[in-house]
């Protein structure tokens, strides 16, 4: 979707699937020059510490590749579980729904671009 990647998790994530997702996603970010990643986990109702850490990893990797990650649609039970596991995912931005996540990404990216333009007006063509 434009400069964003949308990942929808439809099945229960097991460990291998999470690893595959992580690899695919990093390659896609590089391949498509995406500036934002939206992970929709509204269909996910079971999480463990590994999945929680994986989400954190994906966010960190995307940031290294200059893409923002927003996790959307987390269920209450999943949120409680993650907090009880001690995984508050401080590096991840969250939103209630896909639309709000999009807004968040757009706002973040336009702010970024604006600052780049202001800082280096000569680099505009690059």
């Amino acid at each position: 979707m434009g400069e964003f990647l949308l990942v929808t998790v439809q099945v229960d994530m097991h460990d291998r699937l999470a690893m595959t997702l992580q690899e695919d996603l990093t390659e896609k970010i590089v391949g498509s020059h995406a500036r934002g990643v939206l992970i929709d986990i509204s269909a996910l109702d079971v999480v463990d510490s590994f999945i929680g850490r994986m989400l954190g990893n994906i966010a960190s990797m995307s940031r290294v590749l200059d893409a923002e990650t927003v996790v959307v649609g987390m269920r209450p039970a999943v949120a409680i579980t993650l907090v009880e596991l001690g995984l508050a995912l401080p590096g991840i931005r969250t939103a209630l729904s896909v639309e709000r996540g999009m807004e968040l990404l757009r706002a973040g990216i336009s702010a970024n671009q604006l600052s780049v333009i202001e800082a280096n007006p000569d680099d505009r063509h690059s």
Binding site: P76, A79, V83, T94, A95, S97, G101
Partner: protein, 298 residues
Amino acid sequence: MEKSKTESDARSLASLLARNQAQVLERWRSSLLADLASRGPAITESDLNRQSGQFLAALRGALERDNGASIQGSAWDQTRGILTEISREQARRGATSSEVATFIFSLKEALFGLVQTEFADDPQRMAREVWNTSNILDRLGLLTTDIALKSREETILRQQKEMLELSTPVVKLWTGILALPLIGTLDSERTQVVMESLLDEIVRTEAGIAIIDITGVPTVDTLVAQHLLKTVAAARLMGAECIISGIRPQIASTIVHLGVDLGGVSTKATLADAFAMALLRSGLGVCRTEPRRTSSGQ
């Protein structure tokens, strides 16, 4: 030999009861009614009459089937069932456990009287029958006490649960702004309920901002602070932002002295401040207009 003897004794008690049931019931009722005067309005006379009739019939049935050495056998199922029902009913109406037990113990007088007149010529037999009867009634009495206490406990548990539900309302202040006024001490169990109802409400109303007001929380220690932070973290994971408001001066100093880090959470002194902040973040504002009287105000 010994066993067959007790069996025949019990049988004779059963037949004795069968022959004199009406008379026993009459005496039992009169002693129950004598107690009733001192017991207050919890139990009425008609209730007692019904309950005593029911129980005595069941007791007789059980005695006919079993020798009564133990009241746990299947022959006593019905009797125990009826007694359970009666004890529950009495306990629910506010009778104390000793009052419930008195219901059974007052039957002693009537039954002993019966045994005494029947075996007046045979003192040994009489002593045995009295012992036997008293044994059965004691066990039944203990059973009623147990049941009465248990039903009390059930009531307490139910009330606790109701209080838990009553004390965690999530209210909508504006479109997209929720408030959670907390009143009373926060323990782990309550935090769980609070967290769940807040998160469910966030999903339902799609609210982006939740204000947690702790004006009614008497003390904040490290545990309570941790619970609050957990709730905030869970709401953040869902994509909603939390503001903690209603922090009193003493609580502020306690938090600082305990070294609790509330750095990542926005805090406000009053609910009004927090609401203003929430409006600001949602891009809303309040402006003054001409005061308008509502028609009902006149």
